[in-house]
Symmetry: C2
Subunit: 288 residues, 2 copies
């Protein structure tokens, strides 16, 4: 199965309304199992889902794949591979093997997109260029595996506040420059508004990315940041991000696939999932 973007490119079919492009990233309803998240999408007419490996493992790969297939849901991406920068060579080798497994899981789940959070500084080493080289080398090793499975590795730039501990790739332009060193059928980039909205070069980099954009994720930048900075994201419209110009640029670059709403937020996790799903359907059109 391929993403709707490739389907559309092949068949010339256009989607008719914003909500037809909504995908629920499972992180938004992090307390739900795969089966529960799938049911939620069905109940609220959400046509696609972005799955997380931990939840898929809890459900069992075949069972998770069967659940989304039976529901007729598209799987817009699998989150996530990456974390290529352990200090210990054996740990780096293990990370590589784990990423190969993730590629196979993505294919089994019917998605052609595996999101990569590439990793922070090598522990005990402040050389950020070294971390970047390890990431490039790891992706190079994964390219043939990705191609064999028909899965694209989607390099995600994370907000610079996560550079030390999660991802040294901090700008869309940087992710793109790395992706461009590999074949387009194997490596692309994610545009996640939360991580890149502040960048003066964003719109130019989106235009430059073109078909390399394989995933578009939205959520809002809200203040103040919480103590756990991983969980500070908001619903579209609740924060400071100007979505329409970014969404328009992504569309102009040729991306016509699903748009995942991915919100890490403790308060939203503690909200009944049906309320969250309703809110997504209300707020999502504001991203256009």
């Amino acid at each position: 199965m391929h993403s709707l973007a490739s389907y559309e490119r092949t068949r010339g079919v256009a989607m008719t309304s914003a909500l037809d492009r909504l995908s629920l990233n499972q992180a938004t309803v992090n307390k739900l199992t795969v089966a529960e998240a799938v049911d939620l999408c069905v109940r609220h007419d959400i046509p696609a889902i972005g799955l997380w490996r931990e939840h898929v493992a809890d459900a069992g790969l075949e069972s998770a794949a069967a659940a989304v297939r039976a529901a007729g849901l598209h799987v817009s991406s699998l989150c996530r591979g990456g974390f290529f920068t352990p200090a210990d060579p054996a740990a780096r080798k293990a990370a590589l093997e784990d990423n190969k497994a993730a590629i196979a899981e993505a294919a089994a789940l019917g998605t052609d997109t595996l999101v990569l959070v590439s990793g922070g500084l090598v522990p005990g080493n402040r050389d950020i260029a070294l971390a970047r080289r390890l990431i490039a080398d790891a992706i190079a090793d994964l390219v043939p595996v990705a191609q064999a499975h028909g899965v694209r590795l989607a390099i995600e730039a994370l907000h610079p506040m996560f550079a030390a501990d999660r991802c040294v790739i901090t700008r869309l332009g940087e992710a793109l420059d790395l992706a461009l060193t590999f074949p387009a059928d194997a490596v692309g980039v994610v545009v996640d508004t939360y991580h890149v909205w502040w960048d003066a070069a964003l719109l130019a980099d989106i235009a430059r990315a073109g078909e390399r954009i394989v995933s578009y994720q939205v959520c809002d930048w809200i203040l103040p940041l919480p103590a756990n900075t991983l969980l500070g994201r908001g619903h579209v419209g609740d924060g400071h991000i100007d979505f329409p110009p970014i969404t328009a640029a992504v569309a102009a670059a040729g991306y016509a696939g699903y748009i995942e709403v991915e919100i890490f937020n403790e308060a939203i996790w503690n909200t009944p999932a049906d309320e969250t799903a309703k809110k997504l359907r209300t707020t999502f059109p504001q991203a256009f």
Copy 2:
């Protein structure tokens, strides 16, 4: 009085040791008055100080200027002007007038460098390009005033986590592109390791900045971020930043002036200032 950088360029005098270039930014000992901070520098053989307007106002401008002069201290910069992005035109006009006053204060204090924190999104408006245009317009208005006083406006890129509420200029390259639209005797850039260390283009942008670098500030990126993200900075060597390549790039670009240690950190503010000064003298050489 001009900065040591200009003095050195004029006279061909080179400083002999790292500690000769140390400047105490007053924010590092935020609970001290100007007189107390000046005495601290004298006691610990710190040759320069970066002053803050609030503290200068508390001391009285003439009294503060007399204190640093009597102590034989160089004033490496005045912090800070900026905040050009209020929604209300009258408030923007008031910000401009306040910045003109800051330029005059810098000159009176014997420094040729006024650091600018340019301002976040216009309140109630998510258009980040609008905020950037207001900043460019404000700096254009200030250029003749800066030139008349022999003061350079030092545009500081702040970490993107402050883009919404403090400064939409988030990368050294962006600050530089803006500075380059104005005369070099009036507008330059600050390189502050805390804000820009994560940027893959950093070393290239430093090289490109050349003589536009008018201030170099150091402190370290430590984790976890505190609840108040403004106060999460660490002593050089306590965190994740690889200083020597950055310091070498700044030197290669031609900057030979003082290097300010500017650490916003509640725990450090609560440490006896003499301990902090001793620690600065111990840690500062690790930036080279």
